[in-house]
């Protein structure tokens, strides 16, 4: 074994200036690394946050769907029928051209048309009133029967208007 002091010459050893210079270079080299570590940590927690958010969203959607299905299953049959009836009328109204808009373009009997328009307007108002009153929870058989009648009358009027060419399809 040779003593380092015996082996190395002063020229082999770093001077104080050399040590300082090297440390400055090292500091420059490791500082961005620290920032980058910090950035990676931030990015990782951001990714975790995003993943947690997605999971939370999916869990919420799942929960809402399950609750909705449970509520729908718990609905009485009458309410389900009412709902279906309302949906059917709404769908029908959507595909029908607006009676008011088309009636003016289709004379020949302006008096009868005006009368039908008035009937429809009154029927719509009555249906709206009843819907508002029931607010989707009133299951009174009388109210349901009344609503069905109104829908039925409205459909009959619309049917007559189509058959007699008073509405352009």
């Amino acid at each position: 074994m040779i003593e380092p002091r015996q082996f190395y010459t002063p020229n082999d050893l770093p001077t104080a200036g050399s040590k300082k210079r090297m440390w400055r270079g090292i500091e420059r080299g490791i500082s961005p690394r620290r920032a980058s570590l910090l950035f990676i940590a931030d990015r990782r927690s951001f990714a975790y946050g995003m993943a947690a958010m997605v999971l939370l969203y999916l869990a919420t959607v799942g929960g809402v769907t399950v609750v909705k299905q449970l509520v729908e299953r718990a609905q009485p049959a009458e309410l389900k029928v009412d709902g279906a009836y309302e949906s059917a009328i709404s769908a029908f109204e959507r595909v029908m051209p607006s009676v008011v808009a088309t009636a003016s373009k289709t004379p020949p009997e302006p008096g009868r048309l005006a009368s039908r328009q008035e009937q429809l307007r009154l029927l719509d108002a009555a249906i709206s009133d009843l819907r508002r009153q029931t607010n989707g929870v009133d299951l009174s058989p009388l109210t349901r029967e009344r609503l069905r009648q109104l829908y039925s009358i409205k459909l009959q009027i619309l049917q007559q208007m189509i058959e007699q060419g008073e509405i352009e399809l």
Partner: protein
């Protein structure tokens, strides 16, 4: 040693002061060792800087099974080798297997003489590295083998051949001086 372990664990967490303490402890041995392979001070400084930056970046991979200095020297030697490859200078690598069969020379048969310093420059870098690491820096053959990527027995043989070479040359030329 315990202090060093503490600095390492703090430096791993990004503590620059702890890393500075490690630098202060190891910069001189690393510098003087690498200095044996170039006459350019700037080149040694460059290797040392890169070695410490790499050490900081890869502290997580240091498992503590070897000494920290062994790990650091391995990084330093790799930095030097990389530069050697880039500059296409003399190779600094493991010696061929056929070279690893030589008569050995016992520790009692070798004595360092100042004149041998000059002949050290004539040795290839692997021989020079093994000699300095074992005889001057006090690393074991197992540690040297890890640093240089050679077998432990290869390290022993290289050392033995190097010492024989220096001794023979000293007998032939040194005594005349």
């Amino acid at each position: 040693m315990q202090e060093e372990t503490l600095w390492i664990s703090k430096a791993r967490e990004g503590d620059q002061k702890a890393f500075r303490a490690l630098y202060d402890l190891h910069v001189t041995p690393l510098f003087r060792f690498l200095r044996q392979f170039t006459s350019e001070t700037a080149e040694v400084e460059e290797w040392v800087q890169r070695t410490f930056v790499k050490a900081f970046e890869h502290l997580g991979s240091f498992d503590g099974r070897a000494r920290f200095s062994t790990w650091l020297f391995t990084l330093g030697i790799n930095e030097m080798r990389m530069d050697r490859r880039r500059a296409q200078r003399a190779p600094f690598g493991p010696i061929a297997e056929e070279d690893v069969s030589s008569s050995s020379i016992g520790p009692e048969e070798f004595e360092w003489d100042e004149t041998m310093r000059v002949w050290m420059r004539d040795l290839d870098e692997t021989k020079r590295a093994v000699f300095v690491l074992y005889e001057v820096e006090g690393y074991s053959h197992a540690e040297i083998a890890e640093m240089l990527g050679v077998g432990e027995s290869t390290s022993r043989t290289i050392l033995s051949r190097t010492k024989r070479y220096l001794k023979d040359r000293w007998r032939n030329e040194g005594i005349k001086r």
